[in-house]
Symmetry: C2
Subunit: 241 residues, 2 copies
Amino acid sequence: MNTAMQQSESPYSLKNTNIFSAETYTKLQDIMYEQPVEEGSYLFWDSDVADKLYYIKKGHVRITKSSDEGKEFILYLFQEGDLFGEWASYEEARYSYNAVAAEDSVLGVIQQRDLEILLWQHGEMAVEFMKWMGLMHRITQTKFRDLMMYGKTGALCSTLIRLANTYGSSNTEGILVTHRFTNTELGDMIGATRESVNRILSDLKSKKVIDYRDSNILIKDIEYLRDICRCEDCPLSICRI
Amino acid sequence: MNTAMQQSESPYSLKNTNIFSAETYTKLQDIMYEQPVEEGSYLFWDSDVADKLYYIKKGHVRITKSSDEGKEFILYLFQEGDLFGEWASYEEARYSYNAVAAEDSVLGVIQQRDLEILLWQHGEMAVEFMKWMGLMHRITQTKFRDLMMYGKTGALCSTLIRLANTYGSSNTEGILVTHRFTNTELGDMIGATRESVNRILSDLKSKKVIDYRDSNILIKDIEYLRDICRCEDCPLSICRI
DNA sequence: ATAAAATTGTGACAAAAGTCACACCCGTGT
DNA sequence: ACACGGGTGTGACTTTTGTCACAATTTTAT
C-alpha cells in the first residue's frame, strides 16, 4: 500500500510495464502491431487459443470471467501503458477469461511466437518478463486474499483502495477516483450484488469515510478502509485493480 | 479437468515441474542445495525477503496466509517434484505467504541470484521458466474463480476434484484421496468453518457422491461435483490444489 | 489397554449476503 | 418540457454461512 502523497503527483503512473527497461520496451514496440478496437468489443474470449499479449496504447480494457447464469466477475481493469494476456504454457493453451474494451481503445498486439524468439535471444529480457509475470501473479494473489478473508465489506474496502491507487488523484479533501463505476460494476469486482454494494457504500458515506463529487467517489479516510481490510502495506505496484 | 482414467495410472504425477525439459531439470539440480526440514517448521514467513525458490525432493509443504485473528487460509499444497516460491520482481521483494513443512521433508533450495545467471545464459530455459510461472498463475486464477463464484458448496466440490487430481488413486469404486484432511483443513482451503464443511460433506455422503474408506475420502460420483462447481474442463495440470 | 487429545457431528440461534419489489433520481434525446 | 432508460436507494423477506455449545467418536500417546 502507498501513501496518498505518492499518488498526488502522477495519478496514472501505475502501469505494469514500469518494470521493463527502455531497451525491452523498444523491442516490444517493434514486434507489436496496432489494432484499434471499439467500446464493447471483445479482444478474446474465455477458451480462445492464447497466443497473443496485448499492450494498451490508449483506452481501457476489462478482464472478466462469466458464469453460465450470466453473472460477471471483473478480474482486472487495465489502462494505458499496461500489458496483459496469458503466457501459454503449452501448445494450444486457452485463455481462461474474456477481454472487453471498456471504451474505444488502441492496442498493440504481440504474437507469442515473435516474443518467444526475442526472449530466446535476449536472456536479460526474459528475466524482465519473468518479473512482469511475477508482478501479475502477486496482484492476483493479494486480491484473492482481500476478497476471501474479510467479507464483502472488506472486499469492497480493498477495492476502493486499489481504485484509489489506479485511478486516484489526491487533493486537500482526499483521493478522488477519476473514473465512474456503477454499483453493479463494483459488485462484479468483489462478487457481490449491487444492493449489497449500495448498502456498504451508504454506510461508509454516513461514517464520512467516502463521499461523492460529481458522481465520482472521493475517499476521505483511507486509513479507515485500510483498517477494515487489514491492509498489509504491500508495494504500490501490486495494490491495484 | 481430466478423466478418472488419466489418474489411475500414476496418482502422483501432477508435479508442476513436468513442464521442464531434462536439460533444465539437470541444471536446476546443479544449483540447488539440500535442506532437510521437520514437520511444522516454517521455510519462510509472509514478509521475509523472497530470494529463494524451493524444490521438494521428499515430503509435503503447505502454503498459507494467516490473518491477525488467527484464521488460516491454505493457498496451495505442494508435494514431491513440485517447485514453489516467489519470483521477486524487484530488490527486497517479500513473500506474501508462509510455507510450512506439512511433514518431515527434504528440499532443494535455489537462490534466485544463481538461477537468474542461468536464465540469462540460457534463453530456452527462461522460456520454460515462464511457462512454469504461467502455470502457477493459472492455478491461482482458476481456484479464485472456483472459490468465489458458486458458494461454499461449489468451493468444496472444486477442492474435492483438485484433491482427487493431486492425491487421487482410482479403483472400481471411484477415486480415493490418499491423504487425510480434517474438516478444519478443508475449511481453511475454501475459507469456511469446519462446521460448514462437515454439513456439506454429510450431505454429499447422503447423496452417495462421496464416502469414506479408513477416514480417507472416496469420490464416487465426480460428475456430480463437476456439475456443482461448473467445471470447465481446464487442463489437468492446472486443476490441482 | 486406557486415558487424553483431537476431531466429528449436530442442534439452536445469529449474522451476512442475496432476492424481490418498487419508488425515485437524473441525464439525454426528441 | 417531458418521456425514457439506466442507475440508485431501501424495506421486507429468504438463504447461506458462521457461532456457540456440547455430546459422540476416533486417534494418539503412555
